[in-house]
Amino acid sequence: MPVLTFLEAIRSALHDAMAADQRIIVLGEDVAVKGGVFLATDGLLARFGEHRVIDMPIAEAAIVGVAIGAAIHGLLPVAEIQFADYIYPAIDQILNEAARLRYRSNGDWSCPIVVRAPFGAGIHGALYHSQSVEALFTSTPGIKVVVPSTPADAKGLLITAIHDPDPVVFFEHKQLYRSVRGDVPDGMYREPIGKAAVRRSGDDLSVFSYGLMVHYALTAAEQLAADGIDAEVIDLRTLAPLDRHTILASVAKTGRALIVHEDTLTGGVGGEIAALIAEHAFEYLDAPVRRLGAPDVFAAPFADPLEAHFMLNPQKIAAAMRDLAAY
């Protein structure tokens, strides 16, 4: 099995899926000739041509809206928003149009698009190149929200997203693009949307996370293991719909839950998971549910100390885990 970076895995997914299915097109700013500002779509233009790999003007509502139109005619479009921070002009198209098309037509039309967007901090991107915007999308039904953390999942979940009958918003953490490598199967490899993955099994507490923070949580869990604390780390992978079964089963086993996300705390995905646990696993809890997220500022500011203070890291996560284990 080839060992790929996260970025190569995304590229491999697009390439293999497009080679297997003529209906798939890719569109976004700089995706064709340049191959994307992160090179996620590099090589696709040469292989699939300008009718399937389309450079778009700087018009995010059009990037998503054109994808919706193409899906209406039966294609499987993959739209790229260059940075998640610029998804706002497309929000009307994602939430009011794509998410609702099937419902509002009583099932007559559907909208199988994917909207890919690099997100996340830790690369000196400051206020407008490092946002986590996933929570804006998890409260609207009709769309699915996917955040992979490993190269294999990046490929397997993206291929599944492309063939999913509904719109999928697919967030890729920028810092993972080149920093993680892993085995990635060749060809049309799929991972299921809506299923979390247990990355580390443990009995003492459960950590629920996604994206880059999964890696930090795993590092923290190893630090705790040296002290005899055995943490379970769950990679949520899909934020909508949540894998309630895996979340609740883990809490039933460990009795302690910590939710970790890079996004800010208030209104983040962690609140929904905490509520889920409080409602459905209260009797299993030996401690209050804890959340760890970024302070409530807009995103990581530019100056190094500000960015470092904003971001979580393995030490901060380990401290929160120890605290919870000791409760």
């Binding site: 139109g69 099937r102 009583n106 999913d164």
Partner: protein, 337 residues
Amino acid sequence: MESKDDPLHIRLGLSPEQLVAGLRTMITARETDDRLWLLSRQGRAHFVVTSAGHEASQLGCAWAIHIGHDYVIPYYRDMALVMALGQSPLDIMLHAMGRRDDPSSGGRQMFGHFSSRRLRIVSGSSSVGSHLVHAAGIALAFRATGERDIAVMGLFGEGATAEGAWHEGLTIAGIHQLPVVFVCENNQYAISVPQRHEVPVEDVATKATGYGMPGVVVDGNDVFAVYAAARQAMDRARAGEGPTLIECKTYRLRPHSNADDDRKYRSAEEIEAWRARDPILRFERYLIDHGLLGPEQLEAMRREVRAEVDAATDAAEAAPWPLPDSLTDHLYGSVSR
């Protein structure tokens, strides 16, 4: 052979049967609209957004569409258009009353959100101007599939042309010279706001230059003028010659919706002046003047239409509601858990 002395409809290639059927559609749309206003006042329909006054613009466009082949993305004003494309008074009444068998949305959308996959009428939201990017997207898809001889028509009011998404839709269509015909039904108001406060130019059609496409102004109350422009634009689009922006100058003869009171922003004289230019009266006069329809036939047509709308109203009121349990149907195609 046609000659320049032939009547207009012959020169445009429209048969007498088409004209009579077209008039019937216009009259049916007006009668249905009138009925919905009555029903709303009686508390029997929640919402009506009028099409009165726009019928010639819409019928002229409908004549230029290859039904079920070309895509149409209408807006809430387009009842006469969708009726010309094949939605019946019963379809419209089921939609207006939110019944289970409403073909547009199964009772999910308020009146004016017409849809039919069979007729290739694409479902829209209420978000003004948001649908023209879809028109561009459908047309862009034709390039990927290699389809030719097919076009998309997207319709909107002049107020929508201030929206960002409207601009983006025309931008994409212009960049790629896509087979899209953009039709502006300019009734000079966006609810209460007059054109001079919503459009910075006299003619919406002049905006076309900035998007790399021709802009055409037509009298929207003249069904032949609209058809000639729409036909030419759709033919151009199907031939791969690119998009067109058509502006139909018209007027709505009723308030924006049953929730609006137009006395606050329009004078009675202004409305009266436009009533005199009612597109239906004008079309009737043409048919009578050219001996294509007699006054008795017209009276009979009106009677038949009224009976049809009566029957549609009764049938829709007696039709079943959606089941409460269907509230969560069609949120997803399949839940991949």
